[in-house]
């Protein structure tokens, strides 16, 4: 009656992906919220990881006509130890009459939320969605960089072309020695004893035959040890390692004066993240330097960068000067690809803007590969005007006024276009 045995293991992997997509699409709002929150909480460097999303269970329910509680019902329950007919039992607390019976009502307990994880790809998808990235750029950023095969020792399995002959033979030799040593030792002893017995004429022929049989047996045993066994085989192991080009440093420069509120900082953060992602795809090592400034500039860690608020005036050139110092001290431009990203609300102390332009044009821009500036507020003040002049003369300087996350990408358009072309 057996029609057939079918091995399905290799077919139909990921068959439910279509259902998962539909599920994710349905709960898009919740997922976007979770991604939003994650972006706010995560460090720039941890951005491309999965995330756990929680959806309230009641939003997920699939309704159907069912009996609710109330009325008269009877349940048959196993395991009676104490009751006899007519006994009264106190009603169990919570979820009246929910036990036994045919209706598995989801009320009462079990109301915990439905949590599931987004894969890294899915997370990035939602992150990019806000940023309105073109598809080519999305794939560029989402995909892991090129790989190179690198040797990594030896393994016990692999393809025949990777067999390492010397190691395999060495292993075989060791195995043969280990398996045969006991036999060989016995064999040697027996041979000595046989020679001894032969020398003595009084030895019965039977004994000699016995020795010879035993010697024969051992020789056969030794011969039976395979010369080369599959377990001896060793293969050259190769692992895939990401192969980005070299190293880069990214300067995040942000105005933290009182007028930069949380919403503006959030946009700025996405701006930095996008540049960071771009750099990690192209460079083996990407370092990030955070410089915040009001009237003075400080180099700070990421947490302070995004979470501390200062008040007072603004002198942008202080940050640019600090950036220049840091480059000189730690990141010689011959070894490092330097990228600058600056976010501000456009306020600056009046006389300072011209100084900023000069600093950029004469000392910073010659050092950096790319410098992007976003102004997260409306209004063209002196800084904007000066920067506009910089942009006119320098193709690797980009600037933009942005109101929402979707406006960020155009700032980098040139940068990405260049990459896509090469």
């Amino acid at each position: 009656m057996l029609q057939q045995i079918i091995d399905r293991r290799l077919s139909g992997k990921n068959k439910s992906i279509g259902n998962r997509e539909r599920f994710l699409k349905r709960y898009r709002e919740q997922i976007r919220d979770a991604v939003q929150r994650a972006i706010g909480e995560r460090s720039i460097r941890d951005i491309d990881k999965g995330e756990t999303v929680t959806v309230p269970r009641k939003d997920l329910s699939e309704p159907s006509f069912r009996h609710g509680s109330g009325g008269v019902r009877e349940h048959v329950i196993p395991g009676n130890r104490e009751y006899s007919r007519g006994d009264r039992i106190e009603r169990p607390k919570g979820g009246a009459g929910g036990k036994g019976g045919g209706n598995a009502s989801p009320d009462g307990e079990g109301e915990d939320d439905f949590a599931f994880s987004l894969s890294r790809e899915e997370f990035m998808h939602y992150f990019f969605e806000d940023l309105a990235l073109p598809n080519l750029v999305r794939t560029q950023l989402a995909e892991t960089p090129e790989f190179k095969f690198r040797r990594a020792g030896f393994t016990g399995d692999g393809t025949p072309n990777n067999i390492h002959v010397l190691r395999s033979m060495r292993g075989a030799l060791g195995r043969r020695i280990a398996l045969g040593s006991e036999h060989r030792r016995k064999l040697a002893e027996l041979r000595v004893m046989l020679a001894e017995a032969r020398r003595r004429p009084e030895t019965p022929a039977k004994d000699i035959a016995l020795f010879e049989d035993e010697i024969d047996r051992l020789v056969r045993r030794l011969r039976a040890i395979p010369y080369l066994d599959p377990i001896d085989l060793r293969y050259r192991n190769r692992v895939r390692v990401p192969q980005p080009v070299s190293k880069a440093v990214m300067f995040c420069v942000m105005d933290v004066s009182g007028s930069m509120d949380e919403a503006r900082k959030d946009i700025a953060k996405r701006f930095f993240i996008l540049l960071y992602l771009f750099l990690t795809r192209h460079y083996e090592r990407t370092e990030v330097v955070f410089i915040r400034h009001h009237t003075q500039a400080d180099e700070v860690n990421e947490h302070d960068f995004f979470h501390a608020t200062e008040s007072g005036g603004t002198v942008v050139s202080s940050a640019l000067l600090l950036m220049q110092d840091i480059i000189r001290a730690r990141y010689p431009s011959g070894e490092w690809n330097i990228y600058g990203a600056q976010a501000s609300d456009g306020d600056n102390w009046g006389q300072d803007s011209a100084k900023c332009r000069e600093l950029l044009e004469t000392s910073l821009l010659p050092l950096v590969r790319y410098f992007a500036y976003v102004q997260v507020a409306e209004g063209e003040q002196s800084l904007w005007e000066e920067y506009t002049r910089v942009a006119a003369d320098n193709p690797h300087f980009a600037m933009r006024m942005i109101a929402g996350a979707a406006d960020i990408y155009p700032v980098f358009r040139d940068l990405f276009r260049k990459e896509a072309a090469t």
């Binding site: 009656m1 057996l2 029609q3 045995i5 079918i6 091995d7 399905r8 293991r9 992997k13 990921n14 068959k15 439910s16 279509g18 259902n19 998962r20 539909r22 599920f23 699409k25 349905r26 997920l60 329910s61 699939e62 309704p63 159907s64 006509f65 069912r66 009996h67 609710g68 109330g70 009325g71 008269v72 019902r73 009877e74 349940h75 048959v76 329950i77 196993p78 395991g79 009676n80 130890r81 009751y83 006899s84 007919r85 007519g86 006994d87 009264r88 039992i89 106190e90 009603r91 009246a96 009459g97 036990k99 036994g100 019976g101 209706n103 009502s105 009320d107 439905f114 949590a115 599931f116």
Partner: protein, 507 residues
């Protein structure tokens, strides 16, 4: 009556047991399958041909998610199910049940690659011979499902739904499916026998049907009496003439605004619901039967010397896990079903005086014939009503608790004693009666001359109201119907207890 029941003649004792490493191979599975098949034949199990499929854990979760079927149309709820299954599997909260078997011809049983060889043998005996013979023999399955065409039909459904998504957008199709799913339990014919599904006919007739159906619908609404006739016809025109229990069928045929493809989607969901209808009514029997047979087959093979002691130890451990009945709480359908099947055999082979009094027809009869008869002609409700013995009620220490919401306390209404046996048995049988378990809701009337509203009537049983979901479901009905929908709850005397209504969302 006192004929001696001879066990099926066992072949002579095997010279040596089948090899039993814990790792399975394809050859070993075939070997075990042959031995199990031989034994099953000796016991006279009649099955569809078997197709065993080796799958991974992920594929098993996948099958779970799409209600156990190897193909199904796409829907977010299956994705949700998959995520939930995967999560609890990862956390180790649940081992994947080691078997899924599909009522199809050939009958497909899934063997998970992680299973050890004894587990694979257990699954083959349980699913490929136990469930399989049940699918082929039980009257409900014979009446409601056509094993030879279900896979083809699901392939058709999947393709059709995908085409609809392409033409009308994923969202529109999803809304239809959501609404249909909400009514799935009320989308089955309970009493009438449907035509069997045939893929070829389905396809050929689909387009005809679309045209025809649409025309019929139009006819219904076109031949509405003119307002002048209104008075005269008041009492005569009643639509539908009789209340209809299959709400989805009614919607498919009569909803005024649905487009042809939407009717086809309703039909697909309805057909799938109908296919699962027998399974919902034969859980105890189906699992009991399969468990009884894996137990009987493997033990018989052990007696022949085919199985090693190690095999039996592993098998018995899994078996025991399956049939454990923790005291209190829900009845484990495997435990109850298995115990009842064994009990019937006991009553046949060595009846006590009590059994002779309670089961004069079967006490001392040929157990194989009796069990076969029981498998073929009953569903859970009638099976329990017919075969649950006092002996078993005592062994399970069953008791009935009456929950009357108007009383402050619960009352023990019957226990496993002389006065309680019959009541216990009736009560338990009713518990598995699908008509008792699910609320009785039927299409009551359509206001063909007025606002086209559809009225559903819920006949309350034992004063049990609907739960809060009802309002949500009603919205789905309104979406399908396209006009106002009313749900009235009435008691046995037709007195209205509650009335709610929903309107389709206008967008």
């Amino acid at each position: 009556m006192s004929e001696v029941v001879s066990p099926p003649a066992a072949t002579t004792r095997a010279a040596e047991p089948l090899p039993c490493p814990s790792e399975w191979t394809f050859e070993l599975i075939a070997t075990y399958h042959d031995a199990i098949a031989r034994t099953a034949r000796r016991f006279g199990l009649d099955t569809y041909a078997n197709q065993l499929e080796i799958i991974t854990a992920e594929q098993m979760m996948d099958a779970y998610a799409s209600v156990g079927m190897p193909v199904n149309y796409r829907h977010w709820s299956f994705g949700k199910q998959f995520i939930a299954t995967e999560r609890s599997y990862r956390r180790g909260q649940m081992g994947l049940a080691y078997e899924i078997v599909i009522n199809s011809d050939p009958c497909i049983s899934y063997l998970m690659e992680e299973n050890t060889l004894p587990m694979q043998a257990l699954v083959i005996a349980h699913a490929a011979y136990g469930h399989n013979s049940f699918f082929k023999g039980n009257y409900l399955f014979r009446m409601w499902t056509d094993a030879s065409s279900i896979i083809d039909y699901l392939v058709y459904a999947r393709t059709y739904i995908a085409e609809c998504e392409e033409q009308h957008g994923i969202e529109a199709v999803e809304q239809m499916l959501d609404s249909c799913h909400a009514l799935m339990d009320h989308g089955v014919d309970r009493y009438r026998r449907p035509q069997k599904l045939s893929l070829a006919q389905e396809k050929v007739r689909r387009s005809e049907r679309e045209v025809y159906l649409q025309q019929q619908v139009n006819d219904l609404w076109r031949t509405l009496p003119k307002p002048t006739d209104r008075k005269a016809d008041e009492s005569r025109v009643r639509f539908p003439e009789e209340p209809q229990e299959n709400i989805l069928y009614f919607i498919e045929k009569h909803a005024p605004l649905l487009e042809p493809w939407q009717r086809e989607v309703v039909r697909i969901v309805r057909k799938v619901a109908q296919y699962f209808y027998p399974q919902r009514q034969t859980q105890i029997m189906n699992e009991g039967w399969a468990t009884f047979w894996h137990y009987t087959l493997l033990n018989s093979m052990y007696d022949e010397g085919l199985l090693t002691d190690g095999f039996m130890l592993e098998f018995l451990q899994s078996h025991t896990n399956v049939v454990t009945q923790p005291p209190g709480g829900r009845l484990n359908p495997y435990a109850l079903g298995f115990a009842m099947m064994r009990d019937i055999r006991r009553i046949c082979e060595s009846p006590t005086d009590e059994d002779k009094e309670w089961f004069p027809d079967i006490a001392g009869s040929d157990w194989q014939k009796t069990l076969d008869y029981a498998m073929r002609n009953f569903k859970d409700e009638s099976f329990i009503g017919q075969f649950l013995s006092p002996e078993l009620m005592r062994r399970f220490r069953l008791f009935a608790v009456r929950d009357d919401q108007s009383q402050p306390e619960l009352e023990v209404s019957a226990i496993h004693d002389g006065a309680g046996y019959r009541q216990l048995r009736e009560s338990l049988a009713r518990q598995y009666d699908i008509n008792h378990r699910e609320p009785n809701i039927q299409v009551w009337s359509v206001d063909t001359r007025g606002d086209r509203s559809l009225t559903l009537r819920h006949l309350q049983q034992s004063g049990r109201p609907l739960d809060d979901d009802a309002d949500e479901v009603l919205k789905h009905v309104a979406r399908l119907w396209g006009f106002r929908v009313v749900l009235e709850s009435v008691d046995a005397n037709g007195r209205e207890l509650k009335r709610s209504e929903a309107f389709p969302a206008r967008d």
